[in-house]
């Protein structure tokens, strides 16, 4: 209900609503971006670019689902572009070494949240598609059906990606989360 009011006000040019939307979803967007990229400064850039782009979209914005889902989907899409660009760059720099993971460990930007660090490293072990489904479902609150629609694949594929991804995360985080 609150989001519907915010969207209505945002579409009518309210800067208060824009601020409110940002404050409400900033942390979630950033956490999602870190989960995907495992790099704080790259994640901050993604959230920045997504939100600046969102701020210009008032007249074009048509929401089918939730605002949160829309913003997290935007984060996922831009993070995917970043990962691809990074992979291309990495391959161009060194064609001899195989790329084991498309996510690099954080360099100069330190993620001070220990739990998020663990999650980031564990997520980095997953294929990009599984990572995205997990973020969209758990952090974006999107249904599998909505994710399937947005990614143009079947719901069964999405559910499989989610299940395989979660199984792997479980085995990676099993001892990490509690101890």
């Amino acid at each position: 209900m609150e989001d519907k009011l915010l969207i209505w006000k945002f579409k009518h040019g309210s800067s208060d609503a824009l601020c409110r939307i940002y404050e409400k979803y900033e942390d979630n967007m950033l956490t999602s971006a870190i989960s995907l990229l495992n790099d704080l400064s790259a994640a901050e850039d993604v959230v920045h670019d997504v939100f600046v782009s969102f701020s210009q979209s008032a007249d074009k914005l048509r929401l089918d689902g939730s605002l949160k889902g829309y913003l997290i989907t935007s984060v996922v899409n831009l993070a995917r572009d970043k990962i691809r660009a990074r992979r291309r760059h990495s391959l161009a720099l060194d064609k001899v070494n195989p790329v084991k993971s498309d996510v690099e460990p954080p360099s100069d930007s330190i993620i001070e949240n220990e739990e998020l660090q663990r999650l980031g490293y564990a997520m980095a072990q997953l294929p990009c598609e599984q990572r995205e489904v997990i973020v969209l479902h758990l952090r974006g609150g999107m249904t599998f059906k909505a994710i399937a629609k947005s990614q143009g694949v079947s719901i069964n594929t999405i559910q499989s990606r989610y299940r395989y991804g979660l199984d792997k995360l479980r085995s990676l985080l099993d001892s990490e989360v509690e101890k």
Partner: protein, 499 residues
Amino acid sequence: MRPAENIEKFIKRVRFKASTQMHERTLKDALEAQEQSRKTKSAEIGPSIWRIIVKSRITKLAAAAAIIVIAVLAINQFTSTTVVYGVTEVLELCKKAGTIHIQGRSFYPEFPEQNKAQQAVGFEVWLDIKNGLSRVKSAGRVTKDGQTTFNYYENVIDGHYRMRVDHFNKSITYYKLDEADKQKLIALDFDVQLKQMFGDPDQIEAYALIGSEEIDGLVYNIWQAEIQVDPDFETWLRIKIWLSPVTGEIGRVITRQSRDKVDWFRTYEIDKIERNMSFPDGLFETEPPVGYLAHNTKETPKEKRLSKSSWYGKEAAIAVYQGLALEDGSIIVVFSSTNRKSDGAWTTGDELADISQIEVFENLSPGGSLPELPIVVSALERKSLWRGKAVYVGRHLTYTQKDDRLYEWAIYVPTQKVQRSRTGYESFEAILRFNPPGLEASWNYKVGVFSGRRVDAKNFNTLLLKYMTDLCDDVLVPEDLTYENVLQLVQKIRNSLGE
């Protein structure tokens, strides 16, 4: 194997707070982009409207009138600062409040032995956050001769002193506030109150609008959240908040608790919440009420250092002091214990000891076993509804002696990763070990830990060592007791627990 469900909860729960720099940069750029987009749109619309006006004489007037109406509407829209208040906005308003007044009731569990249902106990909180003043009325449960009753207390902080008013015994006691306490105590109280009203701020998104209701002529939206307190606890809180969407005022808060989401028990009901209001005259005056006995004066205040609670059993007694939390989550707790005096009588306060226990302490080493006193706090157990269960294993750190009494300074290290407390004060259950075995405490013995002010490298000397000198004949504390050494010791203990 960890259930998949818990991994899902973990991923949902993990949160990273954006830095202020990032927050400001993104918001600034977004607002500029929005403004630019708005101007571009206006520029695109402009000429077409103008063409309509100049097209014919009849439409000229009509279109001009339309433009005036649109302009008025647009000005209202773009310059309006009207906010529709939801839970998140009101939480932010509360966080920014300079003063706050809360009045309500907390509910205690049923007393089947007295055929009593849940019992309501009133509380009232006045906080002047900016100036560090407060007046808090609360109640404590007292069981005497098998009957449970409530004792009302008030704590008044006037910026220099804390006056504790005991309404049951009609007496007052003064405590002098040290510099660090002055603002901190109020901030911690404030934090607790916010949590009581809204639940865990991290779960604020769980709130949903479920309806509206008129109270005293004002319409309030009703927001409700059902929050699972912790993944390891099958305990749920249902918090309902009545908020005015127009003013952001809170009309009422009702909190229920359940273990099965079927039977909900009352926990808190708040029916008066004011923000940024002025205070009644004399509210923070620390003069004793008429007819109340003053245990001391402001000239002879009690030095409030580490608070202590004592337990007297048939054979032995123990006194445990408030715990101090270290930055890494481990906790230092001081305790002393003694046997019943040889004449069979108990004395009070610090005169308990009548035999020397020095032999018990002499061969102890830091990180090793605790002294085999008559009663030993062997471990601490946290059963926090908010942060879950955790066990902290006790090891010897050092000891002090004052007036023939020996004090164990023990360090308690968690056996698992623990979530840092955001509140100022935490309650732990003390796991007691008796020498000789066979005795049992008749109730759960609690240890309070002031997590709000953690012992770190900066305050180690001023905080921990200051407390230590209070419980030490010779003012000198062990030379090797430094912050770095304590942290190293904790790490060693952690490693040994892992093995």
